[in-house]
Symmetry: C2
Subunit: 387 residues, 2 copies
Amino acid sequence: MLNFEFKNPTKIIFGQGEIAKLSTEIPKGAKILVLYGGGSIKSNGIYDEVMNALSGRQVYEYGGILANPEYEVLLGALEIIKDKEISFLLAVGGGSVIDGTKFLAAAAKYDGTPWDILSKPIRTLEGEALPFGTVLTLPATGSEMNSGYVISRRKTNEKRSSSGPGSFPVFSILDPNVVKSIPQRQLANGIADAYTHALEQYMTVISDADLQDRFAESVLISLQNTAPKLLQQDFDYHTAANYMWCCTMALNGLLQKGVVTDWAVHAIGHELTAYFGIDHARTLAIIAPSHYHYNFEYKKEKLAQYAERVWNITEGSLEDKAKLAIEKMEAFFHSLGIKTKLSDYTKDYKGTAERIEQAFIDREWLGIGEFKRITPQDVKKIVEMSY
Amino acid sequence: MLNFEFKNPTKIIFGQGEIAKLSTEIPKGAKILVLYGGGSIKSNGIYDEVMNALSGRQVYEYGGILANPEYEVLLGALEIIKDKEISFLLAVGGGSVIDGTKFLAAAAKYDGTPWDILSKPIRTLEGEALPFGTVLTLPATGSEMNSGYVISRRKTNEKRSSSGPGSFPVFSILDPNVVKSIPQRQLANGIADAYTHALEQYMTVISDADLQDRFAESVLISLQNTAPKLLQQDFDYHTAANYMWCCTMALNGLLQKGVVTDWAVHAIGHELTAYFGIDHARTLAIIAPSHYHYNFEYKKEKLAQYAERVWNITEGSLEDKAKLAIEKMEAFFHSLGIKTKLSDYTKDYKGTAERIEQAFIDREWLGIGEFKRITPQDVKKIVEMSY
């Protein structure tokens, strides 16, 4: 097991009716800025629930933080924060709104150009950000219980991330009833996203961190079992609750402690979102199978363990099991209604591999993936395999 | 899934050589009281490692906090804390030293009689205790990453507990190398203790909290796999690390969130320690099998799930699997060298069932276990079955 540090101070408030606790969780006298996305919270009742809990408080609001939150859009909120001397941020949304809020919390107390936080990047230490809470409306990214965030700058096709011990939400309210109004496409994305988060922390080398492996496998199995019920049935509270908690646990830091992690799927997938606007989760489903095939020799032992423990594949050689594991994984994405080839999403895919290779060269990234083994040239081949 | 709140702010610093980080983790200028147990840390090198990390700091020390930490012993430390105006406590030890330190942290800032904290009990809120850190020397209780503590008062044969959001360690340093010098008897106890912690949060009713169930099963399987390597081989760092992390994760709050928990095994077991001085972990191994047999009708579905997922028992009826599961559990305790009958520990066991029944009646505990279903009369029968 590798040495590690783990601290996650976010208070999770989980369950039905818990949005009402906003009234006591946000400090008295706070000047609150409520941040949200495209406005669906106004039609599904969550906006009203939040505002009722905040009645009598000093509340401002800023909507329009859409998927792959945009730096320029967030600068609009930053102006309000400074003008109104906001002291507490409340994200009401999914990963994009929460990521945007984390960036704003750091930017509000940063003296230089806000883009520095993302481009250098600068780690935000405890006390160096405005305090913020979240009301999660779309389980997927785990942003509600970690300190990481990803922000896009469309004019330069850049997608950059930052994090730090000061960027954890003070609290996050997770009411599974929010799942009722989530379109099926986004539920499928949420499952694929959380599933890939677990994979990125697991599908590397055979680990001596037995418990972490088993926790990752638990998340994978639980998401597999939950997915068909979530997508095919009428709303079931407990199915929604398990989906929601799986998404949080997949990326709250626990699975990755003491083990070698990968994250190449995300690094490459982000480029596909930047170029084509493909949903984040779907870029992961495009890249993951090619990535595992391309790096088969390095990952085959772990793929075989995944085959055995997650898919109950007991027959065949280690290689057979490992190959079948990738097929099973890809079939799982298909079962969510998610296609796994770039050409399923755009006819304009030719040259993408070269563009992404160049992007990695330009950024002087020497390598990605476990042990930083994957070069820009490898990335090119992985993307080609995903056409 | 039941509604729940989860917040665990303890910073875990895990790995070899990490004790040196004490020099930066404890605030500058702190007046530090180092608390420890019977003095084994002076022979195994941990004391020196701690003191080296604290060199140049204002350090006092207080040893002699033994197993089942004693209220009267702790009052001696409380005097030093007040006399010397100690501002930071450092527990160097196992669950007993850490539990004692939690009590002292709360008592240091409490104005009334310290026993109130345990007898009422009083929940310690954030900021209502002295800050404290831990260097874990004996993995078992999980006290290094939770807020609970149990203190004994021998003259009245009482064992009382308390907890609260202000009773979490600020940090805990977990260096698996400490396992090298732990006697086998205590390693066996540690495994049995952590294993029973997972059971108490799991062996109740069939749960719709799928992920929590799988996490609990992960801890159980991982402890089962780790135990023979830990007990029979020469020191292996990664085995020690996995054992250590399993113990922490078994009782840091995560497994019990959203599910129905039991804790009757602990409630009854504590009485056996109070009367006979039997090691805490061994009292759990005495009570657990009888408890599960006695409550078989209520627990058989979950016992069967445990049989299938943890022990790979696929044959037989649900009842067959559930019964075999209890046998497997008892055999696992035996494999640790831990006997599971009260008569294995004392010849003086007659009348114990009646004494414990009376103790529960006297305390006006209406019921223990999930749904508070177990009456003092049930307790009597469970203890009789354990003779």
